[in-house]
Symmetry: C2
């Protein structure tokens, strides 16, 4: 692992002191996922939103905002419009998509297909997937990400939809319970993970464990508020912001899930837990023999950084 904490913080503070336009030399990089645990800073140094703009290509990047998860989409768009403008984005628009019909509109599809960066706001992940599920808009997002290196960011509900197996609902319980959560299908940029957001702040470990008991083949990814998991497909995993990302790997777990009744407390033995604080970047070596991470972490990070296949 590489410890970039102080160095990275310095670079971020330095760039924060300059107008965003002075980073005009920034060029668009490979498409990334920026998966934000909600409540990202929009008033102070805005490290995460700044990172998203940088990865989208800088001030001239076409930024498109999806606010369909929100129950107050106009309010949410106004907030992000102001903050992205303040950060120097010259071409930032909202995608006019609030219904499932909208998600087939040619104008919507072309806006998403041509975006350099797509930002999905918070709200309700079920409302968002109702709109996007298997839609031309979702297919356009996949093509943009996989073929056009578009950066896809999502916060809160926008983070939950990043995975294929999406936490749809789940009342927090003190300990993991069978059927404590219900799962649905998300946008599927991350085929191997279940994402939960507001993780430490809303005490969601048990909820994530309840989900993993159902799907012990997947990785649990708990993202704190004002914290982002930045995935460079098959290359690196970086944590940006102020909290941590908690990885729970159940692949060697033994549980009583199959023999338990609904509502029963779950016994879960042999989970692997990794706490990855912001400021760290984990580069996956091309030759596994060169890996610096413990073998099980390396294995989990590789799984997390797999973003295929393209859908649509």
């Amino acid at each position: 692992m590489t410890h970039l904490h102080r160095r990275q913080l310095f670079a971020l503070l330095a760039s924060a002191a300059l107008p965003f336009g002075s980073a005009a030399q920034a060029t668009k990089t490979q498409g990334r996922l920026v998966i934000i645990g909600g409540a990202e800073d929009r008033k102070q140094d805005r490290i995460i939103l700044r990172k998203f703009l940088e990865l989208s290509g800088g001030p001239n990047a076409k930024i498109r905002v999806i606010n369909a998860a929100s129950g107050v989409p106009d309010v949410v768009w106004a907030s992000y419009q102001a903050v992205f403008q303040d950060l120097g984005a010259l071409n930032c628009e909202v995608v006019p998509m609030l219904t499932r019909d909208d998600a087939s509109e040619p104008n919507v599809v072309s806006q998403l297909a041509e975006a350099d960066g797509i930002f999905i706001t918070g709200g309700d992940q079920n409302r968002l997937m109702q709109c996007l599920w298997e839609s031309p808009a979702a297919q356009a997002m996949h093509r943009a990400f996989h073929l056009n290196n578009t950066c896809i960011a999502g916060t809160s509900a926008g983070a939950a939809v990043m995975s294929r197996h999406m936490l749809a609902q789940g009342t927090p319980t003190p300990t993991p319970e069978k059927d404590g959560v219900s799962m649905d299908i998300g946008l599927s940029f991350m085929p191997n993970a279940i994402v939960d957001q507001h993780f430490s702040q809303r005490h969601r470990l048990s909820r994530l464990l309840s989900a993993l008991a159902q799907r012990p083949d997947l990785l649990g990814v708990g993202i704190d508020e004002d914290t982002a998991l930045v995935i460079e497909p098959n290359q690196s995993v970086e944590i940006v912001g102020r909290g941590a990302v908690t990885l729970v790997d159940p692949r060697r777990m033994r549980s009583n899930f199959d023999n338990a009744d609904g509502g029963d407390k779950l016994e879960m033995l042999g989970l692997q837990l990794h706490v990855l604080p912001a400021g760290n970047r984990y580069v996956l070596p091309s030759n596994p023999k060169n890996r610096k991470q413990p073998v099980l972490l390396w294995d989990a990070l590789s799984m997390l950084a797999k973003t295929g296949p393209m859908r649509g």
Copy 2:
């Protein structure tokens, strides 16, 4: 592992329906530790307190209550006096020990030495250890447990003092931090563990992880409210009550603790996590080849069930 959930629940409900005295045939068993995560039920079926009385030898057992952790010791004693009386205990008294001087009084020492069951109430573990630290009373408790098979129970602060390495203070933080907790020395019945109580209810995983970063050779034991970890030395580990016990095993962990500054967020890679819900009992086989648990769980449980050496 053995799944006793339904069977055990049935047995407990059956015994709850009978007056306690009808279990008069119960004989005192080997000394156990009953480590309670706080807020144990004292009004309904009182599974945990009933278990403590049973393990102490039944209605005629000499039950002695230590209330020195509490800031309102009279109130606390009155509460437990009533509940133990209600459960059929015929010989239950408070130990007159509220100060460090009291802990050298021959009367106190003999009461503890001759007890069949010692119950340590909640309050402040630092206040309790101020009183008991390296005292004749603490030595008497050790001799009673190790030589006389006395059952030792503690709830909340009374649970925290069970281990040698005691969580003394620690403000909860969302993620583990260097120096986020301060440690002190407890009664040392459990030499290999750090106990945290009210675990799920007060969201103390990060606090426990902060402690384990300091002591990666120990097991982290998080006990939920109204839940008890019952240890039969070198024989078995049982979970009684309504919640779960969370075991965190950091012995294969890699962390940045040594290179971090005070207050820095901690990176902790490769922790083992086991969630053991109430209703389960894990019997350690005398021949390791006969073990039914996954090897790392077996190893952690064996470590947890080691209760020596006797002190004093």
